[in-house]
Symmetry: none
Subunit: 206 residues, 4 copies
């Protein structure tokens, strides 16, 4: 179903077919922007990563900023799509909260991890206009978090203010990008649980 939505978004021109020239460009751009940072990635780097000359980039995107923006849009869309489908399968609030955390962790490690890392780390290099355009998407994404945290508070799963908790969790989760190695000692499951434990009070011992 998610696939279907994505396909439809591609047809609408919102998303880009990953096998097209533009798609390959965005994949490489996401990788390079994450690795070296937006400002340190030259358009020559981008072009040579997809095997064309730098001038040809501008056939696909108006300028470097438009490429950054496109990477971010892709990242957010795919992350949200995944999140929606994972949430649909969870029916307890704690399960849904855990799914949110797992998804956000995954967003940084999965196929679109590069793009999502770029959303987080290179945000300030996006032009004002670009930020404006994407902000609505980001807010929609945050809304999914807030709703579930609000529900969790009603159920006394959490005690902190949902807004504040979300911000703290966001920092904790996105920072994992800088240190977590999924092939290391700590498993992906354990990390998810550790973060979940930050948020929720343990079931009170009777």
């Amino acid at each position: 179903m998610t696939q279907g939505v994505e396909k439809s978004l591609i047809e609408q021109g919102v998303l880009v077919d990953p096998d097209s020239a533009r798609g390959r460009l965005l994949t490489q751009a996401a990788r390079l922007f994450r690795q070296k940072g937006y400002q340190s990635t030259t358009v020559r780097d981008l072009a040579s990563a997809v095997g064309i000359l730098s001038g040809s980039l501008f056939h696909h995107y108006k300028n470097k900023d438009a490429i950054l923006k496109a990477v971010m849009v892709e990242g957010i869309h795919h992350t949200m799509a995944r999140m929606r489908s994972e949430l649909a399968e969870e029916h307890t609030t704690q399960g849904r909260l855990r799914a949110l955390i797992a998804c956000e962790l995954d967003a940084l490690n999965g196929d679109w991890g590069d793009a999502m890392a770029v959303v987080i780390n290179e945000w300030r290099f996006l032009s004002d206009g670009g930020q404006q355009d994407i902000l609505a998407l980001r807010e929609e994404y945050e809304q999914m978090w807030l709703e579930i945290l609000l529900q969790a508070r009603k159920e006394r799963l959490i005690t902190a203010s949902p807004k504040v908790l979300r911000k703290l969790l966001y920092g904790a989760i996105t920072w994992t990008d800088k240190w977590f190695d999924s092939t290391g000692e700590l498993s992906y499951q354990e990390l998810t649980d550790a973060i979940l434990q930050l948020a929720i009070k343990p079931a009170s011992d009777p």
Copy 2:
């Protein structure tokens, strides 16, 4: 006492007298690097912020990278100095943990907040050599955290692995730089408590 240590470090040439020309330069550099980012701050920006021409910067520091490094060294030293003195006044583990959190939050908001924010956000733009040189300092700093978290675990204040918990708290705390407004609804004290609550289990109700 802290004052005394800092004075001694200035005399040793590790730190810089904030009233000297170099000191004013570092203060402005920290501010600009935080505000615009290292790469987007030109040496002309730096120079004009202290009222000289760009060529004259290089009488004070060998190159732009050296300025970044100096800003970071200042930031870490001052943060550590403060942390040491605050810890000295706390005698319970929970108190010491709270002091660590408060200090780290404060590090981003206080006098040396700009410099510390630069340490966090512009780290990857520091040359390899510069990173090497500062790493020891950062590790010393992290050691203070780990010792207290280790103690907290012994006392069953926390359940998570100290290393992992530190990383998660680090992410949560440093991210506050991007959203916390000390003049807003949420007070500085409340934020400190909220973060402390992430870390520790509440005292079990008898």
Copy 3:
């Protein structure tokens, strides 16, 4: 008759049928070259003005220079054709001189005004080869002026050297392109008379 000549020139391939694809291209090119200048008009501008993509232009013309040249050839041919037919109706030298002025003014305001303005203002951007090819046409055109000015001098209508006077009139007339607004206070007739008065001495009052 003029129509017949033009039709014949189209059949010979000298001129272009204005309803053909090439014709529409030249019309738009003339408009854009006049409006934005040759160098500031991109082939993309040209292509999109006629609803094709830039690559397709080169099926019609070898290169951008060839388009400029074609615009100029059209402009000069149509202007000359009109001038010949107007002169044929005037039988006094003063009438013929006035017709020349009116025609040249009209050349900049009528249907082929864009093309003629391009001849005047973008001349230096035409390649050497292109200039060479068109120069004969321009000289033929100038010859029509010189003959009539020569006659006017014989009749003591004018006192100045025909060559010099022609140059001065040319400057005065072509410059009107930059300031004359045919919908403004000054009528087209009045302008024509004002220019005629530059050239000729008033009939001496007896």
Copy 4:
């Protein structure tokens, strides 16, 4: 006296000392802009004409547009200065009108001829902001013409509307730049007289 005014303007930063680095740059820029046109003159051309590298240009002027503007400002100021001093020596209206014509012709041939030719021919390539800034200067210049033409009409030296006549003369005079060769058959004096004859009615033969 004119010298004194110019010196004072240099001190005010309005004009540029022709022996300074900036001054040499403007002289060369005026020459190249006239010769090849603004758009066809690259910053490399400009730089190599003054013996520096292209990047160094931007130490003196913010961008290419600023160089164009500076050339024009110089051109207009010097032309006006000369015109004022020449007018001061003429006391009949016809003499003053002749002086205006001579000055304008001279403006295109004398020391600042390149700059003035640039004002005329490259005007449309100046940015909107630049045009705005210079327009006041140009209007002041035109005012000098209009006043004298108005006086000439009162004295029945001319019959045409001053505004229209000025425009026609402007076209005729500036176009001389494209054909007049001061070393050719036609002398500079004769050309001035020929243009004056365009404007004024000959003294009526008794």
